[in-house]
């Protein structure tokens, strides 16, 4: 496992646009690399679900190009979908069937389906195989969907708000499972969420989507070193780069929010009296502010 391996591009999105009556997603240009966990964060209505549906070819783009595994949906829909596991936001499942039925049904479509893995996952996640779907709680349905998605060993796992509305214990179970998935570096995970703490825990890269566009994309750790809240002397503020906004902090000091362009090391460090990294939801708030300011 060479540390300097160039990761392959799993998803390539070029000039993607989807126009609705009151909302437009895009134009978007971004790539997703193999072997990483991507957290897609944004407020409700920002376009996260639309983006994921387009990646699954459930919704068709108005314009632009999407390639997954180097293939396009126009020519290779089945080939692409055979390698993707998808967990939607609303667990769309037939009401009266049970996990066993679903396993048998779905297994016909995936050559890599491993019934033993399916059973093991259901057991580990405490999902009753013989209970009809409509009697399962939302959390259990999500776990069932996850088991179905993972049992065929997908190269790409896409989840839409997998932890939304779930209790903390179930959330941890699911997040732990996601980090297990990428222990195999050939697999990639994409999940959208508005629960930023979950992305903090497991994501390698964060994509912020605000108002149908990508506000920011970066490595989670890099964001920690760039986006910070600093206490500096009022006279030293001009020495800093990447300043977003400031406010008085008393005793001649200023509270500074810094972001892109801030280099947290060496030359800046001596001005900093106190500091802390911004949480992802704070970064999102700053980005959303910037967006609405830009509109005004």
């Amino acid at each position: 496992m060479s540390p300097n391996q160039q990761a392959a591009t799993v998803i390539s999105i070029k000039s993607l646009k989807k126009t609705f009556k009151k909302f437009q997603l895009g134009p978007l240009d971004l790539d997703f690399q193999q072997g990483y966990v991507y957290g897609i964060i944004g407020p409700n209505g920002a376009g996260k679900t639309t983006l994921l549906k387009i990646l699954m070819n459930l919704t068709h783009p108005s314009s632009g190009d999407v390639r997954i595994f180097g293939l396009s949906y126009a020519n290779d829909e089945a080939n692409i979908k055979r390698r993707i596991g998808f967990v939607p936001e609303e667990p769309y499942l037939y009401r009266l069937v049970d996990a066993q039925w679903l396993g048998r049904f779905v297994s016909a479509y995936y050559p890599n389906w491993d019934a033993a893995v399916y059973q093991r996952l259901l057991h580990e996640l405490n999902v009753d195989m013989r209970q009809p779907v409509h009697l399962l709680s939302r959390g259990t349905k999500v776990k069932l969907e996850l088991a179905m998605a993972l049992a065929h060993k997908p190269d790409l796992l896409i989840l839409d708000e997998p932890t939304s509305g779930l209790d903390p214990i179930v959330r941890r179970e699911i997040l732990h499972l996601l980090s297990e998935v990428v222990q195999d570096e050939r697999r990639t995970v994409l999940f959208s969420t508005h629960i930023t703490e979950d992305a903090e825990r497991v994501a390698d890269h964060i994509v912020f989507i605000v108002d149908g566009g990508i506000a920011l994309m970066g490595e989670r750790e890099a964001l920690r070193t760039q986006w910070r809240e600093l206490i500096v002397d009022a006279n030293d503020v001009r020495q800093l780069t990447g300043v977003i906004r400031t406010e008085d902090a008393g005793q001649g000091t200023v509270r500074v929010i810094v972001g892109e362009g801030y280099n947290g090391q060496a030359d800046m460090q001596r001005f900093v009296i106190n500091e802390r990294p911004l949480a992802l939801d704070e970064i999102l708030a700053e980005l959303a502010c910037k967006k609405s300011e830009a509109i005004i």
Binding site: E185, D204, R224
Partner: protein, 124 residues
């Protein structure tokens, strides 16, 4: 398992914390030479950080000569000769002392004051 513990409130980035802690563990002998290290992905999961972070930490540690990597066999603690060990320890102390010197200059402490402070502390 590596006895590393990360702080989310520290101003040092995670990869730096890993590098510093592993360096100390190796220099103090807690991680013996030749000991195999967890893969970057396993470590990332253990510490709940990004694999990019652990990869960066291992790259940095390898650059410093503290760990080595065999392609296909993973990373392990480097076997450092006595000279290399002391050289590494001194390099590390040098960078720490450099921070003290920078800080001293910034707050206006003279080299003389610094020397007497060090003297005083060494005698304790």
């Amino acid at each position: 398992m590596l006895p590393v513990s990360l702080s989310s409130t520290s101003s040092a980035p995670y990869y730096q914390q890993i590098v510093d802690q592993v360096r100390n563990l190796v220099l103090s002998g807690r991680l013996p030479p030749g000991m195999p290290l967890p893969s970057i992905r396993t470590l990332a999961q253990q510490l709940t950080v990004s694999v990019i972070t652990t990869r960066r930490a291992y790259e940095e540690l390898e650059r410093e000569g503290i760990i080595g990597t065999r392609p296909g066999a993973g990373s392990f603690v480097a076997t450092l000769s006595a000279n290399e060990l002391s050289a590494t320890r001194l390099t590390h102390l040098r960078s720490l002392l450099n921070e003290v010197l920078v800080e001293a200059k910034a707050v206006g402490v003279t080299p003389q004051q610094l020397k007497s402070l060090l003297q005083e502390m060494l005698e304790q």
